[in-house]
């Protein structure tokens, strides 16, 4: 019943997509697949997994929610729900701030419940297809037995190198009251410096190093990742790596294959594991190939102006710091993309025929999604996207 509820939540997420879409890019996806999963110290099991998700993206915010239900070989099911949101400040030179938060809840095969909520602040320095960030945050996790508090600080960098984007980060995590983690073997005892009672246990530190690369070309997306965690107290190291490939056969349908490992969850006290899956993906639209760069790195348009000319044309001008290409299309260009000219530092403009009345238009920066210029009313178009309505006197 609980799993059915989670599935209903997933369905509701998809149904809510149009309502969430105003002024934003929304993508709803359902992944269905099968594969094997092997948690540490356990036998491999076959699972059929259904994962609905919805992602709402705006230039200054990101909201993502997903649910997963896995039907296991044992006849039981496990499920998980997750929601994550981020708000980004405007750009002050190359600097943007990010405030994010999220929550995860899971119901496991053995009926145990775990969950966590967390918040984080980051400062991004961006420019020229690369960026660095510095962040800190904290959260609370429930391991089906006790609540634990965690604090984290991270530093990271990303760079776009042609069709490949590489990202690396280093995170220090301090968790209060970490007790027995069923990996690595053998089971650890309190005499090894671990405490099963979170109330008396001190903060314990972990250092995570993560690296990932994403390559996209046409309908093909390939991701690889690797990570290592050092337990500062035990001097133990845990390592994991994995890869996934997505081939979009149409704009809405893809085949996805994944394989690899995942680390233990030190906050929720869940073991590490390995997996190999193959499945299909059905989406309301092919998500913008994110090229691995964080959403916050996408250039933002500002100061959108429509300046009347001597004839029936008007000059459209905007500022887009850090952009390589800015395009515009609308009913007045027969919906053909027109490139704006760079006429100054971060200033882009184009002259278009624009008679008085209401016009619909979109802009696109660096071959990203078609969006709406700042200050222009955004409405949902009929094609799962947004369109701006510009009133010209």
């Amino acid at each position: 019943m609980r799993h059915a509820r989670l599935a209903l939540v997933g369905g509701a997420l998809l149904a809510a997509a149009p309502a969430l879409a105003a002024g934003a890019q929304v993508v709803s996806i359902i992944d269905a697949g099968t594969g094997t999963v092997r948690a540490a110290n356990a036998q491999a099991t076959t699972a059929i997994t259904l994962t609905p998700s919805v992602r709402r993206e705006r230039p200054t915010s990101l909201l993502a929610a997903s649910g997963t239900i896995s039907f296991l070989e044992s006849g039981r099911a496990a499920s998980q729900g997750e929601i994550e949101g981020s708000f980004f400040s405007g750009a002050r030179g190359p600097v943007r701030a990010e405030l994010s938060g999220g929550a995860i809840g899971a119901l496991h095969e053995n009926r145990a419940r775990t969950g966590e909520y967390h918040g984080r602040a980051r400062l991004h320095i961006l420019g020229g297809g690369r960026g660095v960030w510095l962040g800190a945050g904290g959260g609370r996790a429930w391991d089906s037995d006790a609540w634990r508090t965690s604090l984290a600080a991270d530093i990271g960098a990303w760079a776009r190198l042609g069709a490949v984007t590489v990202t690396g980060s280093f995170t220090r995590i301090a968790v209060q009251g970490v007790g027995y983690i069923p990996d690595p073997e053998p089971p650890l005892a309190s005499g090894d410096g671990l405490y099963s009672d979170p109330l008396v246990a001190p903060l314990r530190s972990f250092h995570d190093a993560l690296g990932s690369a994403r390559w996209t070309r046409g309908p093909l997306e390939l991701d690889v990742f690797a990570g290592a965690r050092r337990d500062a107290g035990l001097q133990a190291v845990e390592e994991w790596l994995g890869a996934s490939g997505t081939l979009w056969l149409t704009g809405n349908f893809a085949v996805v294959a994944t394989a690899g490992g995942y680390p233990s969850d030190i906050e929720q006290q869940l073991p590490s594991g390995r997996y190999a899956t193959i499945g299909i993906r059905v989406a309301t639209r092919q998500p913008l190939a994110p090229r691995g760069a964080p959403v916050v790195a996408r250039p933002l348009a500002s100061d959108f102006q429509v300046i009347p000319g001597a004839d029936s044309t008007r000059l459209i001008r905007m500022h887009v710091p850090g952009a390589r290409k800015v395009e515009l299309m609308g009913d007045f260009t027969d919906w053909r993309a027109v490139e704006l000219d760079r006429t100054g530092v971060d200033r882009w403009e184009v002259r278009v025929p624009l008679r008085a009345g209401a016009h619909r238009l979109n802009i696109r920066i660096d071959d990203g999604e078609w969006g709406v210029p700042p200050g222009v009313t955004a409405i949902t178009d009929d094609f799962s996207g947004v369109v701006g309505v510009l009133i010209v006197q």
Partner: protein, 221 residues
């Protein structure tokens, strides 16, 4: 040539023209150049029917081009064009036969946003002697910004009753947009700004009536 063969030729010509008539409507050079044949074939009867009903075809072609440029699937493009044709029909009926294409498009936007066609009709009657494209566009814009449709219609109709100029409708929109941006609820913003806009129009009109041309107003002591 016998009478029979003439009749046969006439029937063949008639059949051919009937077969080609729907296609002709979809033979816009932009559609030909950019939209695939199957989509054009499905759009043809919609465009043809719109043409016969006297509706403007440009917004329909425009919608198809928008969908094509955004990579939308055929079914979605056809559904969007069909839905727009329906709304344009309702908009044209509300505005009357003499409505211009921009007015019909703006009215369709307003109706699609949730404004009842009856309110569009009232607006048309209040501003009979001039184009109402801008007031209609402002109406749709206010709703898109979160103002409830009935409240937006009430505000715009109030401005129309005092024969506000297009710039004053646009001014109302800008003021409401600014208020919403500063955190005021859309319904509150429109209520406050609408009243102020009507007062402003009436004050300006009273001032222009009392001013005597060529004579400066004496300074107030």
């Amino acid at each position: 040539m016998t009478l029979r063969s003439r009749c046969l030729m006439l029937a063949a010509a008639l059949g051919l023209s009937l077969a080609l008539a729907p296609a002709a409507a979809a033979q816009d050079p932009r559609l030909e150049a950019r939209v695939d044949g199957r989509t054009r074939a499905q759009l043809a009867p919609i465009l043809d029917s719109a043409r016969r009903a006297g509706l403007p075809l440009e917004p329909l072609i425009d919608k198809a081009l928008e969908g094509d440029s955004k990579g939308a699937p055929r079914q979605r493009i056809v559904a969007a064009v069909r839905a727009l044709a329906g709304t344009l029909g309702v908009a044209r009926d509300a505005l009357g036969r003499g409505a211009s294409e921009p007015e019909i498009v703006a009215a369709a936007d307003a109706i699609e946003a949730g404004i009842p066609p009856r309110q569009v009709e009232v607006l048309r009657h209040l501003l009979l002697s001039r184009p109402i494209t801008v007031p209609l566009a402002v109406l749709a814009d206010l709703v898109a910004r979160g103002v409830p449709p009935d409240t937006a219609a009430y505000a715009v109709l109030n401005l129309a009753r005092v024969q506000a100029a297009d710039a004053q409708f646009v001014g109302l929109r800008i003021d409401v947009e600014r208020d919403i941006g500063s955190g005021i609820a859309p319904a509150t913003a429109i209520a406050v700004r609408s009243e102020a806009s009507v007062r402003d129009v009436e004050t300006r009109r009273a001032e222009s009536r009392s001013a005597v041309p060529g004579q400066e107003t004496p300074p107030t002591p």
